[in-house]
C-alpha cells in the first residue's frame, strides 16, 4: 500500500476491484465505514456478487480477466472521450507526472495490438525512450511560459487520449459483459468524486488483479487513473494492495525472491562481474530530468552495508565486500516459481525446502507441482500442521512405492510461541511477543516444535560443520565466511537479528559501535552495516521502534497517521509520495486532510518524501536545486507512461484461457505478447480459446473463514464448522442448463484436471451470465482453501481449487493466472 489501512477512512470514494475486502480483509471495512460515515461511496466491481458487494453502494459485474478494458474505459471517461468532459487534476498531472514528456514517434508506435520493439515475446524498451536534447535531457510539451503542458501532439498525454479513445462504452461492455449504463455509473461515481484537488479516491486491490497474464498492467491501469486524478500521495488516496499473508510485505522487503536482495536491491547477474560494475548497472545513473533526485543512486551505500551484514569482518573494500560470494543469476534467465517447477519436473532440482508454505495446494497447476516434487531426491517441510505438500507422496493419484523422494517434516512454532516482527500491507512493522513455549509431544517430551530461527540455526551450523570437515569441498567460502552470531549474543536471537537488519556503525576493525540511526547515514566504505536499508531506523539507539504502542489522538492526528505506533518503512513515512499531496508551493491540496505542509521554513506532518523544499518559492518562481516529488522514480515524476516488460501503457488482452478466440479490440494480438507459455507436453495443457470443451469462465478466490490453502484453518474446528467443504458457485441459469440443483455434488474440470475436482454446487443469484460479443458466457468460481489432509486425511478427495488453474503468468512478475481460466462442470454420477 502506498497508504495504510486507517487511511482508507479519509477517502471520498472507494473502489474495491481485484479484491474482496469484506471477505478477505474484514477489518478494512471498519475504515471503509469510517469514510462512508463522511459521505464516501463504496463501489464493488467483481465477477461475483460478494459480501463486499452486499454492503456496497454500487455493484458492477465484469468477466474475469477484463479489468484493463473496464479501467481503460474509465481512462477514456477521465480524458473526455466518454461524456465529453475532461476530469483530471490539471496542475498535478502537469507538474508531477510524465504526461508532458515527448515520445519519440520515429521509434515508438502501437500497431495491431503490439508496441514497437517486440522480438519473440521480448520487448526492447529502448524503442519507447523519450525525446531528448543534445545534453540528454527529456523534452517536454511546454506552453508559452516554458511551463510543462499537455498540448504537444507527441506528448504522453495526447498519446494516452488516442490510445484509450478506442475504449468506448460499447467496446468495453462487449468485452467485460458489464452493462453500459453500469460502466458509466461506476466511472461517474468514482471520477466525479475524486478528480478535484481537495478530493481523494482510493483503490483496494489484491490478487484479483495480480493473478493474471496482465497482472502488473492491471495495476498500472489504476495507477494511471490515480495519477490523472491527483490521488497518489494524498490522504484517502493511493494505490493500495491489500496483500495476502500476514508478513508477505516483510518477506518481500527481505526478498525471499530470486530477483531481488533485501531492500529491493537487484540480484547480481553474471555479467555484473564485480561490485563496481554492479553499482554502475543496478541503478539508473542518469535521469534525463535535472529535478529528479533519483534515490536509487544511493544503491552502492545500501549494497556495501548489506554485504557487511552478510559477511561481517570478512567483507572489506579491498575484497569488494565479498560481492563474488553472492550467487549470481544468468542474464535473461528467469528463476521464478514456474521455471523452478519446470526445472524440477525435468529433474535438475535435487532438493527443496517448503518452509511455511504448501505448494501442493497453493500453486497454479498443482498436479504438475506434485509430479515435479516426486522427482526430488529430498524435500524438507517446516510447518505447524501436516500439509498436503509434506504428504504429497500419498495424495490423490500418487503411488508411494513409485516415489523416491525423501521427506522431512519439521514442527515449528506458531506466532504466539516466539518473538519478532511482521510487516502489514501498510508497511507497519509491528513487534509481537512470545506467550508460551512451542508445543511438546505429550507422549515424548524430547519431541517438540521449535522456533523457525532455531531450526535455521541448527541446519546452518550442521552444514557449516560438514564444510569445515571437508577440505576438498566445493566453494565453502560463502558458508565458512558467513557472519552468524545471533544465537550466542547478549540479546535473544530475534532482537540480535532485528539489530543486524537495522545496521550498525562499525569501527576500523569492523566492530559495532552502535546502531545506525537511519538509512540516510549509511556508508559505502564499510563503516556501516545494514541487513536491509529500508528497515534502517526500525531498531536503533532509541530502542525497538517496531514495539512502540502509542496510538494517536484523533484531535491532533485527524488523518490517523499514528506515527508513534510501531514503525513504518521507509523512515516511518506513513504515506508514500506525500510530497505530491501539496501543490508546488507546498500547500496541501486539502488542508483538512493535510499529510504534510510547508511552513515557509520546514515541512510539518508526516515524514516528507525526500524532504526537498517546494518546487516554487513564495513568490511563485521555480526554485533551483529542489526535487520533484516521486523520488524513487528515475525521472522524479509519476509514470503515466511507464515501461514494463509488456508495454509502456496497458492494453486489453484476453486471458491465456478465454471464451473468445480473438481479441475484441480488433487486432491480431489475443494474448499479452510478452507472456511465456511453457510446452504443453510438460503437463501444461491449455484450453483452446473459444473452444467448446471448457466453455465456462472460472475464477479462484479465498474465503473469510479459511486462510490461503487452509493449512492452518482447516485444522481449526470453529472455522471448519463455518466452511466445511469444497464448493463451486454458479448462476441459476447455468445450473438449469446443466441440470444441477443447489447442494448437488458436481465435478469441475479443466485442461489440467480432466477427471474433475469434487465440489458442492452453490446455485446462486450472485452469479449472472454475461453477454460477451453478443454471446452468453457463464462464469463460476471456486475457493482454493481445501485439500485432502485436513481436517482428516483422505486421499480420495480431489478438492483443491488449484488443480484446475494454469501456472502461466504475468511477464513482469510471473504470478500465475489463477483468476481467469476455463472449466466445464457436470453433475457427479
Amino acid at each position: 500500500m502506498t497508504n495504510h489501512w486507517i487511511d482508507i477512512g479519509n477517502s471520498d470514494v472507494i473502489i474495491v476491484m481485484g479484491s474482496n475486502a469484506a471477505e478477505n480483509h474484514p477489518i478494512s471495512m471498519r475504515w471503509v465505514n469510517r469514510a462512508r460515515e463522511s459521505g464516501a461511496k463504496l463501489i464493488s466491481v467483481d465477477p461475483r456478487f460478494t459480501r463486499t458487494s452486499a454492503v456496497a453502494d454500487i455493484y458492477a459485474p465484469l468477466r474475469s480477466g477484463t479489468d484493463i478494458a473496464f479501467l481503460g474505459g474509465m481512462i477514456n471517461y477521465i480524458l473526455g472521450g466518454i461524456g465529453g468532459t475532461e476530469h483530471i487534476q490539471t496542475e498535478y498531472v502537469k507538474e508531477y507526472t510524465n504526461a508532458s514528456f515527448l515520445l519519440d514517434r520515429t521509434k515508438f508506435s502501437f500497431d495491431d495490438g503490439v508496441f514497437s520493439g517486440l522480438t519473440g515475446n521480448t520487448y526492447d524498451q529502448g524503442a519507447w525512450a523519450f525525446q531528448t536534447d543534445g545534453a540528454g535531457e527529456i523534452l517536454k510539451s511546454v506552453d508559452g511560459d516554458g511551463k510543462w503542458s499537455l498540448d504537444d501532439p507527441n506528448c504522453v498525454y495526447q498519446f494516452l487520449k488516442t490510445h484509450y479513445s478506442r475504449y468506448t462504452l460499447e467496446m468495453v461492455s462487449g468485452i467485460t459483459g458489464t452493462p453500459q449504463e453500469k460502466l458509466l455509473e461506476v466511472y461517474q461515481a468514482y471520477v466525479d468524486n475524486c478528480y478535484q484537488p481537495d478530493k481523494a479516491g482510493t483503490i483496494m486491490y489484491a490478487m484479483g488483479w495480480t493473478q493474471h497474464t496482465v497482472g502488473a498492467q492491471n495495476i498500472r491501469t489504476m495507477s494511471i487513473i490515480q495519477l490523472l486524478l491527483g490521488n497518489i500521495g494524498v490522504a484517502g488516496g493511493g494505490v493500495n494492495a491489500l496483500r495476502g499473508e500476514s508478513n508477505v510485505q516483510g518477506s518481500t522487503d527481505h526478498c525471499l525472491l530470486f530477483h531481488i536482495l533485501p531492500g529491493y536491491l537487484k540480484t547480481p547477474q553474471d555479467n555484473w562481474t564485480d561490485l563496481a560494475t554492479y553499482n554502475e548497472s543496478a541503478r539508473p545513473l542518469t535521469t534525463g530530468e535535472p529535478r529528479s533526485l533519483n534515490w536509487w543512486k544511493k544503491t552502492p551505500l545500501y549494497m556495501a552495508s548489506f554485504l557487511k551484514s552478510m559477511y561481517g569482518t570478512a567483507a572489506n573494500p579491498d575484497n569488494d565486500f565479498r560481492y563474488d560470494w553472492l550467487p549470481k543469476i544468468d542474464v535473461g534467465v528467469n528463476y521464478a516459481w514456474q521455471p523452478l517447477f519446470d526445472a524440477m519436473y525435468n529433474g535438475t532440482v535435487k532438493g527443496m525446502f517448503a518452509w511455511g508454505q504448501n505448494p501442493a495446494c497453493s500453486s497454479g497447476n498443482a498436479n504438475k507441482v506434485r509430479q515435479a516434487m516426486a522427482k526430488l531426491d529430498w524435500l524438507v517441510c517446516v510447518n505447524i500442521y501436516p500439509t498436503e505438500t509434506a504428504e504429497f507422496w500419498r495424495g490423490p493419484g500418487m503411488n508411494p512405492a513409485d516415489i523416491n523422494t525423501e521427506v522431512f517434516e519439521l514442527p515449528c512454532a506458531a506466532s504466539v510461541e516466539k518473538e519478532g516482527s511482521i510487516t502489514n500491507s501498510g508497511r507497519w512493522a509491528q513487534w509481537r511477543y512470545k506467550a508460551v513455549d512451542p508445543p511438546v509431544n505429550p507422549d515424548d517430551e524430547n519431541q517438540k516444535a521449535k522456533p523457525d530461527s532455531e531450526i535455521m540455526n541448527e541446519l546452518f551450523l550442521a552444514v557449516k560443520a560438514l564444510y569445515e570437515a571437508d577440505s576438498a569441498a566445493t566453494f565453502p567460502d560463502s558458508i565458512l565466511g558467513l557472519k552468524w552470531d545471533y544465537f550466542d549474543g547478549p540479546d535473544i536471537p530475534s532482537v540480535m537479528l532485528a539489530k543486524e537488519i537495522n545496521g550498525y556503525n562499525l569501527d576500523e576493525e569492523g566492530n559495532p559501535t552502535g546502531l545506525v540511526e537511519k538509512f540516510t547515514l549509511l556508508a559505502e566504505d564499510g563503516t556501516t552495516s545494514s541487513g536491509n536499508w529500508l528497515y534502517c531506523q526500525s531498531y536503533n539507539e532509541d530502542g525497538n521502534n517496531m514495539a512502540r504502542r502509542i496510538a494517536s489522538d484523533p484531535a491532533t492526528d485527524p488523518i490517523g497517521l499514528n506515527s508513534e505506533w510501531a514503525w513504518c518503512w521507509p523512515i516511518n513515512r506513513r504515506i508514500i509520495y506525500n510530497r505530491a499531496s501539496v501543490d508546488v508551493l507546498g500547500t496541501p491540496w486539502n488542508e483538512s486532510r493535510r499529510v504534510i505542509a510547508w511552513t515557509g521554513e520546514r515541512w510539518e506532518g508526516d515524514v516528507p518524501d525526500g524532504g526537498a523544499v517546494p518546487l516554487k518559492d513564495a513568490d511563485g518562481n521555480y526554485r533551483e536545486g529542489t526535487y520533484l516529488p516521486f523520488i524513487m522514480r528515475q525521472h522524479g515524476v509519476g509514470q503515466i507512461f511507464g515501461p514494463m516488460k509488456d508495454g509502456p501503457v496497458p492494453e486489453h488482452y484476453e486471458p491465456l484461457e478465454s471464451p473468445l478466440a480473438a481479441n475484441p479490440m480488433g487486432h491480431a494480438q489475443r494474448l499479452n505478447p510478452a507472456v511465456y507459455v511453457p510446452p504443453a507436453e510438460e503437463m501444461n495443457a491449455v484450453a483452446t480459446p473459444g473452444g467448446t470443451e471448457y466453455p465456462i469462465v472460472c475464477s479462484s478466490y479465498r474465503l473469510t473463514e479459511h486462510w490461503q490453502t487452509g493449512v492452518m484453518t482447516r485444522w481449526t474446528p470453529w472455522l471448519n464448522e463455518l466452511q466445511p467443504e469444497m464448493f463451486v458457485e454458479m448462476s441459476e441459469e447455468l445450473a438449469a442448463e446443466k441440470g444441477i440443483a443447489n447442494g448437488d455434488r458436481v465435478l469441475v474440470k479443466s485442461a489440467r484436471e480432466t477427471d474433475g475436482v469434487q465440489a458442492v454446487a452453490i446455485v446462486t443469484k450472485r452469479f449472472k451470465p454475461f453477454t460477451i460479443q453478443g454471446q452468453t458466457v457463464h462464469q463460476v468460481g471456486v475457493p482454493w482453501c481445501f485439500g485432502w489432509v485436513a481436517p482428516a486425511m483422505d486421499s480420495t478427495r480431489v478438492t483443491s481449487g488449484n488443480l484446475l488453474t494454469p501456472n502461466v503468468g504475468d511477464p513482469n512478475t510471473r504470478i500465475p493466472e489463477s483468476k481467469a481460466f476455463m472449466v466445464d462442470i457436470e453433475k457427479e454420477a
Partner: protein, 225 residues
C-alpha cells in the same frame, strides 16, 4: 415463581443493536462466542450456502443467516441476520418454566439466563415458548442459549461477539442509549434509500434488529428457515 423479573435498575438494563446494514457476515461473532464460552464444534456440511451450522445448537448460540433476494429495482440483496437469544424484557421462556430458578433474569443487565435447573424443564415446552426458537438442549440435558456474556459485562467488558464485530454492526450498552442510537440510525438508513427500514420488536427485546430491506428478505428464525 417466587421472584418475578427484577425491575431494571436506573440504567434500564442493557441492550444490543444489530445494525444489519453494516454486517459483512464475517461471522467473527459466531466464533468469538465459541471462544469465550468454550463451546464445542458442530459437525457441518455445505448445503449449497455459506450459512453454517444449519441451525442454532447447544454449542452454537449465535448464527448469521444468509438470504438472497432480488429487489423490485433489479438489484440484489444478500441480507445477513443474526439469530440468537433476543433477551425478551418479559421472557416467555421464563414464564413457561416450571422450576424456580431454572431461568432467571439478571437484574443489572436484563439478560435472560438459563441455569443448571433447566435440565429439569420440558425442552419442548421451553423451546416452543420462545417466539424466536432459540433454546437448544445439550447432551447433559440442560438448555442452552446466549447468556449475554454477562460475566464479561459485569466486569465492564463488552459481550465477546460485540467486541469482535469489525464493522460495529453489533453494538451494546445501556438500553436507553442503544434505543436512541437505533432510532437515529434508522432515520439515516431510511434517508439513504431504504424508506421501509425497521427495528424489530424494539419494545420487547434487548437484541434490537435494524433491517433495511423488508423483513421477508431475512431469515428471522429457524422456524422460517
Amino acid at each position: 415463581m417466587a421472584q418475578e423479573i427484577i425491575a431494571p435498575g436506573p440504567s434500564n438494563g442493557k441492550s444490543y443493536l444489530c445494525d444489519t446494514t453494516k454486517c459483512i457476515a464475517c461471522r467473527s461473532c459466531q466464533v468469538a462466542c465459541k471462544q469465550w464460552n468454550e463451546l464445542d464444534t458442530v459437525h457441518t456440511t455445505n448445503r449449497g450456502t455459506y450459512e453454517n451450522p444449519h441451525d442454532l445448537a447447544w454449542c452454537c448460540w449465535a448464527l448469521i443467516r444468509f438470504k438472497e433476494t432480488e429487489r423490485p429495482d433489479g438489484t440484489l440483496a444478500w441480507d445477513f441476520l443474526r439469530n440468537s437469544c433476543r433477551h425478551c424484557i418479559d421472557a416467555p421462556c421464563k414464564q413457561a418454566a416450571e422450576h424456580e430458578g431454572s431461568i432467571t433474569i439478571d437484574a443489572e443487565t436484563g439478560a435472560v439466563i438459563f441455569n443448571e435447573g433447566t435440565k429439569d424443564e420440558s425442552y419442548s415446552k421451553i423451546r416452543l415458548a420462545c417466539p424466536f426458537d432459540n433454546p437448544r438442549q445439550g447432551p447433559d440435558g440442560r438448555l442452552y442459549k446466549c447468556v449475554m456474556c454477562y460475566d464479561r459485562v459485569h466486569n465492564g467488558e463488552l459481550p465477546a461477539c460485540v467486541k469482535a464485530c469489525p464493522t460495529d454492526a453489533l453494538t451494546f450498552g445501556d438500553r436507553d442509549e442503544i434505543l436512541a442510537t437505533a432510532e437515529a440510525r434508522l432515520e439515516e438508513v431510511k434517508a439513504d434509500g431504504f424508506p421501509n427500514a425497521t427495528i424489530l420488536d424494539k419494545r420487547d427485546v434487548r437484541l434490537l434488529l435494524l433491517l433495511a430491506d423488508p423483513a421477508s428478505y431475512y431469515i428471522l428464525s429457524t422456524r422460517e428457515g
